[in-house]
Amino acid sequence: MKIGVFKFSSCDGCQLAFFDIAPEIINSEYIEISYFLEATSFNIYDRFDVAFVEGSISTREEEERIKDIRDRSKIVVAIGACAVSGGIQSARNFGNFEEIYSFTYRENYFKDINPLSKPISDFVSVDYTVRGCPVNAEEIIEIITSLLLNKTPHINESPVCIECKRKSIPCLLVMGSPCLGPITVDGCGALCPSLNRGCYGCFGPIKGANFESLRDLFKERGFNFEELIKTGFNAYNPYFRGVIWR
């Protein structure tokens, strides 16, 4: 299986999962890493069985490149909140781009930067998504082994709350802290609640979750729902658009 690992606008944190699973990769005769700039100097940009894509699309060059990768790849997997939702850099999508730009740079050199940072699914079809900021390396292994075995990968779609209940963690929302667990996909094992902190939504929203009801609950308790989502690394996720952002 020829694998390519690609980077777009991102922090490299999701690609690191491949270093975590390097012992498995080294010992597997079925996996061939044919393109992975951060790991090797020997890269062949040709055809790929699976392209793992980290990062959001935030320049015109990236728009072209993701399309080209799609054309060369049988399967495209979006890994991480940047690729799946646009990432933390999509926080700029909700502000005034020129202003945000000028807070960072004095001069106007970046003519090719798009005002919006978008998920790759806005440009190409995506076969599988792995959530998280960063992803959980085990879900990458699940994808690779499933594809090798020709079965459909099992990627969790249930909310953080379920895992919380399973672990009998006292509910922070009930105790008075904001928590996005009810509308967030679990892939972390309810990590933040288990560490005495509300979920800030780094794995992103569940399709069709009842956003309205959590918003009302937040309002009742005096928490700012929208603000928490906007700092949650998945604010521009397609599931939020049209529901939360009209």
């Binding site: 606008s9 490299d12 270093f19 790991a39 090797t40 890269n43 945000i100 807070f103 960063p134």
Partner: protein, 430 residues
């Protein structure tokens, strides 16, 4: 005529070397960063202070703890919070985990293949599986350490202004003591092995070494900023003595001391400035393998990273042995308007944050200076030395050497990017 070489490999982020040719020879060279900026300083404006540690962590997946530590320190200093020793110790331990993790990644996965002229660790594994096993052991150990304190390895979730959301249980932390002797031995083995490799003859010239000084500690969590020409300043004074400047031939901003002197940050600078703050045992080991300051050969930075890992491991060991859990994980404090500066030693060098905060705790201004942008100058000048005057038909082969000299500095381009100008040329040729 300009030739854009292939993207740099085995570095964090996206960059490449561009050479300009005149009369069949290279007459100028520069480092082209094409990683798109992500506008962190802009995004932070208007946000509540308490999200800054998690947002800035996303600047870099390899050194998120460094970002969290510099940013919590900035707010703590703005709000006048004193951090108790127990919390400070735990933060140090957390940060040691990141140094071990990040250095391991660079030493074995990114840097070591260069010493064998191999493309990656996968090929190194074929000729020397032992050393790769050491790499995996160190990686596993540091991952565990970070996970126990922070919940997960990349973008851990427990760091908060004033302390931690939760402190780890004693027995969880103490459990990893059983593995620590193994990785200590492994590290010494690695030092022994790496010190016998061939190091190209090369030395950097006319640069200052800038790093933190923190009493008797080898610098990591905080400190005054020290430059090897004798200057010591407070973190708040950084911009009075250092600044960014632009040069016409290059797309990247550089950092320089205001008196015009160039400097580098990171392992070489720390080692040369504060060798005497390494633990005596670690100093002995370093001396045994002739790793002593001053080191001017950047290829030998791989040894310095190993020595730093050794120091981190011994210090982690004693911090874990003495660890007593405190129930109250955060200090009480009041939010107030002000300016806060935080600085710490990221694995790659000084990471400086400054925030202006409103009375309700909103961020009005953010400024972040990461290590890699401070090392721009030296990376580019090393590449220049390797490539200037090279004949056009020899460029492709010589550029491999030039790439190696960039890897010596373990550049983290994602970190640097929000700070660098992006070149427009990259569009058609990637």
């Amino acid at each position: 005529m300009e030739i854009k070489l292939n993207p740099l490999t085995r570095v964090e982020g996206e960059g490449r070397v561009i050479v300009s040719i005149k009369d069949g020879k290279v007459n100028d060279v520069f480092l082209n960063i094409f990683e798109p900026p992500r506008f962190f300083e802009g995004i932070l404006v208007g946000k509540n202070y308490d999200v800054a540690p998690d947002i800035t962590a996303r600047i870099c997946g390899i050194c998120p703890i460094a970002y969290q530590m510099s940013s919590v320190q900035a707010f703590e200093s703005a709000f006048g919070i004193d951090i108790p020793k127990e919390i400070e110790d735990l933060r140090r331990l957390f940060y040691y985990g990141e140094w071990i993790q990040s250095h391991t990644l660079h030493i074995f996965f990114l840097h070591l293949p260069d010493f064998f002229n191999l493309p990656s660790i996968f090929e190194v594994n074929k000729i020397n599986p032992e050393i790769v096993k050491i790499a995996f052991n160190l990686k596993r150990f540091s991952s565990k350490l970070i996970e126990i304190i922070g919940g997960r390895v990349s973008h851990p979730v427990t760091a908060a202004v004033g302390g931690f959301y939760k402190t780890p249980e004693e027995n969880n932390l103490k459990e990893i003591l059983k593995d620590i002797n193994l990785v200590l031995e492994d590290t010494v083995k690695a030092i022994d092995y790496v010190s016998r490799l061939n190091f190209p003859d090369y030395s950097i010239e006319n640069v200052l070494f800038v790093s933190l000084k923190d009493g008797d500690n080898y610098p990591i969590l905080k400190g005054d900023i020290y430059s090897s020409d004798g200057l010591t300043i407070k973190k708040e004074e950084f911009l009075e003595y250092f600044n960014e400047y632009e040069v016409p031939h290059s797309t990247a901003k550089f950092s320089v001391k205001k008196d015009g002197k160039h400097y580098i940050v990171g392992p070489i600078a720390r080692f040369n400035n504060t060798f005497d703050k390494l633990l005596p045992l670690v100093r002995e080991t370093a001396k045994k393998y002739s790793i002593t300051p001053p080191i001017y050969n950047p290829y030998r930075s791989i040894l310095i990273r190993l020595i730093e890992i050794l120091d981190c491991l011994y210090r982690s060991k004693s911090l874990i042995e003495n660890y007593r859990r405190i129930d109250k994980a955060t200090v009480d404090f009041e939010v107030k308007a002000g300016v806060g500066v935080g600085v710490s030693e990221a694995p790659r060098g000084i990471l400086w944050h400054r925030y202006v905060i409103s009375e309700t705790g909103r961020i009005l201004e953010a400024n972040i200076i990461p290590p890699t942008s401070q090392n721009q100058y030296i990376m580019e000048s090393d590449v220049k030395r390797k490539l200037l005057e090279v004949k056009e038909d020899e460029i492709r082969e010589r550029v491999l050497e030039a790439e190696k000299s960039i890897r010596n500095y373990d550049p983290c381009i994602s970190c640097a990017t929000h700070f660098l100008k992006v070149d427009k040329l990259y569009l058609n040729n990637r």
